[in-house]
Amino acid sequence: MSKLYSGAEIVFKCLEDQNVSHIFGYPGGAVLPIYDELKNFNSVKHILVRHEQGAGHAAEGYARSTGKPGVLLVTSGPGATNAVTALTDAYMDSVPLVCITGQVPTHLIGTDAFQECDTTGITRPCTKHNWLVKDVNDLAKIIHKAFEVATTGRPGPVLVDIPKDIQFQKAKYKLYTKPKKLNGKSHDNFSQKNIDDLIELISKSRRPIFYTGGGVINSGAKASDLLRELVYATGFPITSTLQGLGCFPADDNQFLGMLGMHGTYEANNAMYSCDLMINVGARFDDRITGKIDEFSPKSKKVHIDIDPSSINKNVKVDLAIVGDIKSVLTTTLKTFKKSKKNFSKSNKHQISNWWEQIQKWRSKRSLDYIGSEETIKPQYAIERLYELTKDKDTYITTEVGQHQMWAAQHYKFNKPNRWMTSGGLGTMGYGLPAAVGVQIAHPKKLVIDIAGEASVLMTMQEMSTAVQYNLPIKIFILNNEYMGMVRQWQELLHDKNYSESYTAALPDFVKMAEAYGCVGIRAKTPEELDDKIIEMLNSDRPVIFDCLVDKQENCFPMIPSGKPHNQMLLGPKDQKEKKITGKGRTLV
């Protein structure tokens, strides 16, 4: 007779089988039996966070920097509800998470018991799937299924809710066997005809562009390699969404920078004027398309995506290829190399006018800003940070707001999985705990959270986690005392009525760093910035870097509201000529 294990033991047997090395969590009444077993399973290390949202974001950071699913373990009631923001964030940005929650004992469910909440009900819209375990004999099967759902197809978060009595009950443990067929939810069903059509379009195009997104990163490092190969083989220009940064080297001449609301002039204009748009793993998000009726009006659109529901959701496309980016690109390259040898040379003439046009747009230098000797311009701070860290294999996380956009614009990423930012949900407070997760996964690497002072205060308590586990994360705060992006919109759209966007009482971040037991550094002038950054980089402890920047600086360029891609608002010089008025104000 095979051995009987308690529900709590089965949880860890499953985690071991799934090769989980770290879980992020916070104990509480309804998960105590699971925490009790922790000591018996050495291969799973638990990271104690300070708030369940932090556990979620840390697991996201872990997942996005490794490509493996992140795991969090929280208690019932408030434990579960605190994790909801992180689950929703992961759902929007397609990050594989497995969230295990405790639940009150089965017989108390529905009685409004202490720390009871309808966890599966609350998390149903923000997970790919969730389970309430009602029988200990199903537990192992469910947990393994949870990992399968989280990591296959378009990745995303799942949740397993385990009542306390189930954690005590005993059952046999069955070893995990990988299923051959994945319930029809994994979609890799493109045809050779699709690929031939794509290549036909590629060879005819005179004004092509690749528009790539987070799907490339999610498909694994190999997908980025294949993408590079294809982009070089075609000689086409490429732009990337916020989430796709890093899948193509940012310092390459074929890269036009990020597109979208705060994308570059050349990228957005190229998107508007192209005759062929090849969307690889992006989803035509509203921050990308601007005014949808005038989105890239003259182009044939190709959409490669693993999620069939992404196709034609926002923008109607001419050729849909449903499949994993890696396999689609593999087939494309194979076919392409066979039928179009030396394409990039022979095709050079056909797209030379296009490149000339792009160079003209480029010469606008849309990311330029007016420098200053007295105050640190936030863009300058990011530029210096990039210059001083570019030779290290640096991992960057961000919070949400102006600093996030400046980081995306001015920090150049050359590898996938190095850039962790909350794009879809736009969660302020994401970056610090995400940095904790990244540092756990990559203990020897440099991990920097480019932050704003308002965002970082939302999850500041996780510094305590960083100190506890000796995680030398660097929190690089661009401190302008405002919720900068809110302030910017108020300036541009609400007649400079800065309603509640100024934080009148901020903590002293240097003293705060010391109180947490880490290092605090402050930079006030451009002159001292480099030395201070180097001081930060030389520290082997967690650092909070308080970078006092220009309080009025706005993030440009910008697609102003109600406008298509070809009508961008450039920096301060250009702005006087085009004022945002009337209807356009709603779109920002």
Binding site: T120, G121, R124, P125, K128, H129, L132, K134, V149, G153, N183, G184, K185, D286, G290, K291, I292, D293, D307, P308, S309, I311, N312, K313, K316, W489, L493, H494, G562, G582, K583, R585, T586, L587, V588
Partner: protein, 182 residues
Amino acid sequence: MANSKSAYSFAGKKQKPDTHIIVVWVDNEAGVLARVVGLFSGRGYNIESLAVAEVDQKQNISRITIVTTGTPQVIDQIKLQLKKLVPVHKVADFKREDKNVIFKEMALFKFVANNGKLNKAFKACKNYNPVILDKTNKSNVIQITALRREIDSMSKNLKKFGLVSVSRTGAVAMTRGSEIFK
């Protein structure tokens, strides 16, 4: 809306909405209906009627029939989003006008009136397989099966014969001929 300061775009051009009948085969497990209905409400899709029951006790399969209206793009999204749900096995979609599909709905009508009116009411139902399920000297309950819009108009027209209560199942659908939906 013109002066709205929302952070998002205006709605673009609207396509014309059609009525569709969506049939979904799902595992009959806890919360599955909430998942399907939550998907509709969460994404702002309409539900005009919904009928659900287990149809295969052995494999625990339930069949959900949903009548909805939406533009072609929305209907497409509904189908694709439904197919992504883990307990969903297959999804069928029929236009209301589709001649190859039978749509039927059952309704129970309660009339309270004198005998003359009750008889008229029964006669008025005669095209829709009426069955008298209950009868007293001042009331009756009639069961009919008909199309949605027929029941819509019947429940309006029968008011004059003393119709006081209507209960209806929502449409269910089945393809004609020997074909079954795979």
